[in-house]
């Protein structure tokens, strides 16, 4: 991290300042901005598996949902009996004081980061031996199963859903809640970015790439691939859990299959965003998520009822025109910008040979 170039420094500080100023500049869009931060985090962490390691996982939604339920449960459970809170039609109303609310969410987020990471380790140990489609299908099942199971557990509200604690009423400022969640998610975004960037400069990434390019060879080289695969997944789970915890608090209502273990939307979106931007790159998921979010928020309301058709068209366009994502496409067009030196003669000769 020590040798950040000056050009990068300007870029990063510019982005951080923009990020910090955003909720004041676009006050009405705070919730959407929070979503954006969370979406970027999800896309970046998915990219660690899908892009760098070559393991297309649909299971990251499991950690996201787990984080959501854990944060809310801890936040309530620390101060009140959880079963009575979630009991459908519960006649009692509990109110968190300001201090309780923030303590609760703090501890909750901590738990929401650690537990999914441990779960990822355990599940990873069991299923990361699967490769290719088998792994993808298996993880697809994880999210669905988790949704159905959560929908049957009474203490977290079962099919009734779980209303997360409302923002403390003592804080009169209407904007406070929006700002709180925005800055929380922005901090998470920075944390995730720094971490992923760190990985990009490390041997760890090379190992992940080796696993993607040829796992057997990597193993033959003496790399304990299983260990690294599990570690990678645990890192993703850590950040996914945090993202879920923040989203739960922001949305205010957790439903087992539609909000928490929302494989159909969030689970697919994170893959789509990473591919749109270009998987296997640092900035790809960031750009992909941003574009996707803009597309979604900007256009969907104009095509009421047809938004999923439009999404389908978008997917087709991405796959047909940008199979390597935007970053891949840019790299192909302007290879010099990516530090690649190309011998024009040689390239032409190769083209002609074909």
């Amino acid at each position: 991290m020590g040798n950040i170039k000056q050009k990068d420094l300007i870029l990063y500080s510019g982005l951080i300042i923009l990020g910090l100023a955003a909720p004041y500049l676009f006050s009405a869009f705070k919730v959407q901005l929070t979503y954006l931060c969370v979406l970027i985090v999800l896309a970046m962490t998915w990219n660690l598996q899908g892009g760098e390691m070559g393991y297309n996982t649909f299971g990251n939604i499991l950690f996201y949902g787990l984080g959501m339920y854990l944060t809310a449960s801890v936040q309530v459970g620390m101060f009140f009996p959880l079963a009575e809170w979630t009991e459908s039609g519960g006649e009692k109303t509990f109110v968190h004081t300001t201090a309780q609310y923030f303590q609760g969410i703090g501890v909750g987020l901590l738990v929401a980061a650690i537990v999914p990471a441990i779960v990822a380790g355990a599940i990873g140990y069991a299923i990361l031996g699967l490769r290719g489609h088998y792994f993808a299908i298996c993880t697809l099942g994880l999210g669905i199963a988790a949704g159905e199971i959560a929908g049957g557990i009474e203490i977290i509200g079962a099919g009734q859903g779980f209303t997360t604690p409302p923002f403390p009423a003592e804080i009169v400022d209407n904007e406070a809640r929006g700002k709180f969640f925005y800055f929380l998610s922005f901090a998470l975004l920075i944390g995730t970015f720094v971490f992923v960037k760190y990985i990009y400069g490390s041997r760890f990434r090379l190992i992940l790439n080796a696993i993607r390019d040829n796992e057997d060879k990597a193993e033959a080289m003496g790399i304990q691939t299983m260990k690294y695969k599990i570690t990678g997944w645990m890192c993703s789970a850590f950040f996914c859990g945090l993202a879920g915890g923040i989203m739960g608090g922001l949305i205010g209502y957790i439903d087992s299959t539609d909000v928490a273990f929302d494989g159909r939307e969030m689970g697919v979106f994170m893959v789509l965003m990473a591919i749109l931007g270009g998987k296997g790159t640092l900035w790809g998921p960031v750009i992909g998520a941003t574009l996707f979010h803009f597309f979604k928020e900007g256009l969907w309301t104009f095509i009421l009822g047809w938004q999923y058709v439009a999404l389908g068209v978008l997917i087709v366009v991405i796959v047909v025109y940008f199979p390597e994502g935007l970053m891949g496409w840019l790299r192909e067009k302007y290879p010099e910008r990516f530090g690649e030196v190309i011998d024009e003669k040689d390239r032409k000769a190769q083209v002609e040979l074909k």
Binding site: V31, P166, G298
Partner: protein, 413 residues
């Protein structure tokens, strides 16, 4: 490739433009219009009921606007609604509520379809102190959270099928019955289930099957196989429109004989039309029926509403549409009594609502639920191939006698 770049740049600028135009926010009252906001399920699993809700809202807006609109401080205003599609997803609904309030500047909300979505929106409207009149969130837990800006024109979900159990017990000579039940995993259906549990306890009935059905449900054969084996006295099924359709389809396919079948959402699913004779004798909970004798000056009676609605939208109005129309009447009444656009004044006026609409009497309890209107039960009855919903309870409006028990499939033609 150059073309592609151009296309790309154009689309990006289009998005930016769209965003910019969004930030120019509407006012709560714009010129002659009172702007209401609503997130509605136009796609996803609740899409058919979402459309029923939207049609109900639109019908009432047209009618009220045509008949002079809303009079506040001597000036006539018209209603206008901004809709967004929440995709039947609570996460999206909460986000859209925020958007309606913050970006579109909406100060008064109409509810979405379903309890789950209402549960997701209520914390948002509550936070911004936006009065919301909702017509499709019946879950009891909505009314125990101490919400101050939420008003529901419908009866709470746990009341839906309690009456059916009472009826079954009555037919059984006052002795408890054996109940088989299957409910979708969502806030509304789970609340209906709680109502049944209460009723079972009260009447000394026994629940022998208590199944959960997945969302997006298309199959409940496992439950029905159990029903065939255990022969309960009553089968209760609730899972919105899809639940009702699936139940009738599979009960008739598997020839499941059960003396009494109680459901929700029969009219929204247009059961009597879609399944005809197969759906005969099904007992359905409903918030409203056209034969009820309530009246108001906008829609006249239930029968007239039914006729007008059919003319406009081409199908008979399910209760989801009727209650949605009623929500607008409540808003109009509250605006006129408040004689102001101040949100708290409107809220206070809503709180003291006491009126009759074609849909029923409306008076809000302390939690915001409508306490002035009973639930009704109807039974699908057929003459030849022509099937209709006949009210069988409560006795005040009953047009037909409750037919019990349901004949065996082998005896049905």
């Amino acid at each position: 490739m150059n073309k592609l770049v151009k296309l790309f740049i154009t689309s990006i600028s289009a998005i930016t433009l769209a965003l910019v135009s969004f930030s120019s926010s509407f006012a709560k009252v714009e010129g002659d219009y009172i702007v209401l906001g609503s997130a509605i399920s136009l796609t996803g699993k609740y899409s058919s009921n979402g459309v029923h809700t939207q049609n109900g809202y639109n019908m009432a807006v047209d009618r009220i606007n045509k008949m002079g609109g809303v009079e506040v401080q001597g000036k006539k205003y018209k209603f206008e609604i901004i809709y967004y599609d929440d995709e039947s997803n609570p996460k999206r609904a909460a986000q859209l509520a925020e958007r309606l309030i913050k970006q579109d500047g909406v100060h008064y909300m109409l509810g979405p379809y379903s309890s789950g979505l209402t549960k997701a929106i209520a914390p948002v409207t509550e936070k911004y102190k936006i009065p919301m009149v909702e017509a499709n969130g019946a879950s009891r837990s909505l009314f125990t959270k101490g919400y101050k800006y939420l008003f529901a024109v419908l009866s709470p979900a746990n009341q839906y099928l309690e009456v059916a159990i009472d009826l079954a017990v009555e037919k059984n000579g006052g002795k408890g019955v054996r109940i088989a039940q299957a409910f979708e995993q969502d806030a509304f259906s789970q609340d209906v289930r709680l109502g049944i549990l209460d009723a079972a306890k009260r009447t000394g009935s026994e629940i022998i099957i208590d199944d959960k059905l997945p969302k997006e449900l298309n199959d409940m054969a496992a439950t029905l196989a159990k029903v065939k084996a255990t022969k309960p006295d009553v089968l209760v099924v609730s899972g919105h429109t899809k639940g009702a359709l699936t139940a009738i389809r599979q009960i008739s396919e598997m020839k499941v004989d059960v003396p009494m079948l109680a459901m929700t959402h029969c009219d929204a699913a247009k059961l009597s039309k879609q399944h005809g004779k197969k759906s005969e004798y099904a007992l359905c909970a409903s918030q409203w029926h056209k034969n009820l004798s309530y009246k108001d000056k906008f829609f006249g009676s239930g029968k007239k509403y039914d006729k007008d609605f059919k003319k406009e939208f081409g199908y008979a109005p399910p209760y989801q549409s009727a209650e949605s129309s009623a929500a607008l009447l409540v808003f109009k009444d509250a605006f006129e009594r408040a004689n102001s656009f101040d949100r708290d004044a409107v809220r206070d006026a809503l709180k003291t609502t006491e009126m009759q609409t074609f849909y029923g009497n409306i008076k809000f309890g302390p939690g915001g639920q409508n306490t002035a209107k009973p639930m009704i039960l109807f039974q699908v009855r057929c003459k030849g191939d022509d099937c209709e919903n006949k009210v069988v309870a409560p006795t005040k409006w009953a047009s037909d006698k409750f037919y019990h028990p349901i004949p065996k499939w082998s005896e049905r033609s």
